[in-house]
């Protein structure tokens, strides 16, 4: 179920990116399908990344406290 929710979320974000105006160029062709998909998936992954970084900070905060406690 978790995976299906992810799919729906990603597809929803994809649909939000369907209109553009200007053009960008580079030596490598990013491929339009890949480009649009990256914008969609990265917005989701960016959110997850914040949570991950935040969680790691909480973990290291508590592990530091416990480490200090053990040392004392």
């Amino acid at each position: 179920m978790k995976q299906i929710r992810y799919i729906i979320h990603v597809l929803t974000v994809l649909v939000l990116f369907l209109t553009w105006s200007e053009t960008s160029y580079a030596y490598l062709d990013p491929g339009s399908g890949s480009y649009f998909f990256q914008l969609a998936i990265a917005s989701l992954l960016g959110g997850l990344y914040i949570i991950k970084v935040f969680w790691n900070k909480i973990k290291s905060f508590f592990s530091n406290i416990f480490a200090k406690g053990k040392n004392e």
Partner: protein, 466 residues
Amino acid sequence: MNNLHDYQLIPGSFRDPDGFLYWADGVLYRQINGGYQANYDYLMSSGLYENLTKDGLLIRHEEVDIEPARPDTYYRIIKPEPVPFISYPYEWCFSQLKDAALLSLNILKRALDFGMVLKDGSVYNIQFFRGKPIFIDTLSFEKYREGEPWIAYKQFCQHFLAPLALMSYNDTRLNQLFRIYIDGFPLDLASSLLPGRTRFTFSLLSHIHLHAGSQKHYAAQASSLPNNRKMPRLSLLGLVDNLESAVNNLKWRPPNTEWADYYTDTNYSQEAFEHKKRAVAQFIDRIKPKSVWDFGANTGVFSRIASNREIDTIAFDIDPAAVETNYLDTIAKKETSLLPLLLDVTNPSPGIGWENKERISLLERGPADLALALALIHHLAISNNVPVPKIAEFFFKICKVLIIEFVPKTDSQVTRLLATRKDIFDSYTQSSFEAGFGEFFAIQSAVKITGSERVLYLMERKNQQQ
């Protein structure tokens, strides 16, 4: 003005307008074109170059003051540290490709810390150098512009993630698709080949299955790419972090193969085995080669006789499990002179890509100073029906000196090969072996291995084919 007649361009270095590689007087140079000036200067001055090279992640170079190959577009000429042997992903085992993928992402993360990004995600930017993967394309870095998506996302998925997923979930031999698809595995192909359960792994579901679906969806539309749609830096970091987890989670454990127990399942006694090792060592000490190619190296027991003497050694084997085991050993022991690679001697890597020259064939990467062909000839002559003179001609093309073991028909390994087939090999004898190789090589020495019927030869290539 164009001085290209004095130089030899590297055939695989033409896509990037920012520069190109070429040989001049036997030395490899890279010309950096004016269009890359700002990025190159930033790479060097921002501290990123120093950060990457001090940890051995990026190849070092020095700026040289020589006449440029193409003065009209020139900004700088650099001389990269030479990589002794260029290898390709269809010659790598699973962990080699995985380490190359992780290196690319590590470099991308460090580049972002310094305000730069990788402008491509090509697997061919990675080589193996002193026992580790290393990034060789100094021109792959460009300034990161806030809000830009990663231009090489598609290429990274095609060159690293899809191949690793297929090797992990389907069959490790699928890395051979690199021989066909020069720009990495098409994602629709990977998506259709991967088992259904990979759709329940978030990273593979997104970066391969949904990604392929998106490519298909947009393939029919001639929509131009926007640059008004921004991707926050945090999203890019999230993407890179997720790709890294995806690669880290892909695993492959070598199964037991026919070669796995090879050294415990031969007719060699311990005494014969030790004698053979001593004889090979004596020959190597006599030749003092700078490069050794060991064909049919298995897990590299004999290759290490050379590499332990700090001779650049390639341990070729046909068995992905043997190459994987050997590679993991080199990493564990921090060996810097041994490179295990996948190779089928009966079908060595061809030249592929544009004009069949972008990735060069095995033969063009030679000749090695010394080749080892130990316990190999019976597989070529009997299992693969290659006549002995043709085997001799092959080695004539790829090495200057050859250490080869003749395995007679009476040897139990050959008897095993002949057990299930008609013996049509009347000419497979020691005298015809010596005659066949004598056409191309001068036999310097022959040592009968104690306690076996095998003979170890040291031969030097004749200057002219007779």
